[in-house]
Structure formats: C-alpha cells, structure tokens
Amino acid sequence: MTEPATRSVIIEKEYAHPPEKVWRALTERSLIEQWLMKNDFQPLVGHEFRLRSEPVPNWDGVIECRVLAAEPCKTLSYTWGTLGTGTVVTFTLTPTAAGTHLRMEHSGFREDQEKNYKGAKYGWQSFLGKLEGVVAGLE
C-alpha cells in the first residue's frame, strides 16, 4: 500500500548567532513563547506538549505536539496536531561561518486533509476578515 501524497512547507534562514543560542530559543519554554507560542515544551523524545495560540471561533487555539527527535544544536522534530490532522515540524541547525543555517520543514499535508471539513472550518475564519477587499477586487 502506498502512502497518500503529501506536501511540505520548507523555510530556510540564516541567523547571525551560534547554533547553541538558536537551540536555546527553540527549546526553552520562556524563549519559545517569545517567538512562537505559549507552551509546556521539554526537549525529551516522547514528551507530549501543547502550543497555545489565541482561540478563534470554532478553534480553541491548542496545538497538540509530541517530541520525535531532540539532538542538541542539530535537530528538533515534533508532531503538530490541529483539528484532527497530524503533521510534523522539523528544525535542522547547521553551523556556518556567520552563525547558523536553520531549515524548518513542516511536512505531511495531505491533499485530502486540506479539503476536509475541519480544515475548511479553520481556514475560512481567517479569510472572512479579508473578504471585503477581495470581493472589491473581483469587480
């Protein structure tokens, strides 16, 4: 049986800071909160934690996660569960002359999930706010 096709978001970025410092920002609770979300993260494989963003209608803002890999200053990977979908976020750190190259891959988006009921519920909230402008652009 073949797995259904999946898609990923990949973002690569250079930071003028050493991998040790980037690793701290990715793995210490108070620091994670400052760039990502409130959380109860621990860098231990198997640890289950939650990321919390502002609730919106039809979504409580909670992302259920589980640590898959945590190799200090090299790799951090966790599952990313929202609204019945399971995707995976992986950060890979590589030292460079200037600091750190960070590769973030958010993988496992399935075509059928994208079109499912819950995905639509989540997505349409954010587009409604921009609706008037888009509609004006149609004319």
Partner: protein, 107 residues
C-alpha cells in the same frame, strides 16, 4: 481566481448571508423559521439569502415533513483554503520573530 472560489466569495460578501452561514456552521441544521428569528430580516429575505448560499453550494437542505432543514457545507470553502500558503506565511512570520528574539538574548 477560479470560478468556484469567486462564487463562494460573492455569496459570503453579504453580511447577512455570512451570519446565516456562520450560524449553520456553528449550530448545525436549522429551519428557515429559526434562522429568521436570529437574522433580523424577514423570512422571504432569509429564503432569498439561503438560495444564494445554495447556488454557491455553501448550504445544503433536506425536507422533513412540511419543514425544510438547512445545513452548512463548509467543504464548499475548500477552494479558498490553502494550508500550504497559510503555513508558509505563518512560519515566515515566526522565524522572523525568532531572529528578533535572538537579537535580544544574551550571547
């Protein structure tokens, strides 16, 4: 913009129609009477809005006895929902915030 997406945008551009669709999404199946009670417009107007939502395939209906029950079809929003774009923008923003944080942190 694909036709499916623009018909959905047009259907939801009206605030009363949007409110009806949101109510059906939130509370499940409803009759036109119940929808009228909450909408602040007349029953013929609610029926007209429901027809527009049905044309955009945002609302489905079934008859039970003398009443017609309407339900949201959020899957009709699929042309508008692009998770890949959503998450690309999300992570770009977050990784920029990470850079700001790194600047603020002690070495």
């Amino acid at each position: 913009m694909p036709n499916a997406a623009s018909s959905v945008f047009r259907a939801l551009a009206d605030p009363t129609r949007r409110a009806i669709f949101e109510r059906l999404s939130r509370d499940g199946e409803q009759t036109v009477h119940v929808l009228t009670r909450h909408s602040g417009v007349s029953q013929p107007m609610v029926s007209k809005h429901l027809s527009a939502l049905k044309r955009a395939r945002l609302v489905g209906h079934r008859r039970r006895g003398r009443e017609t029950h309407y339900r949201a079809r959020p899957q009709a929003l699929a042309p508008l929902v692009d998770w890949i774009n959503h998450y690309s923008a999300f992570w770009q923003n977050k990784l920029d915030q990470l850079e700001d944080l790194l600047e603020r942190m002690e070495p």
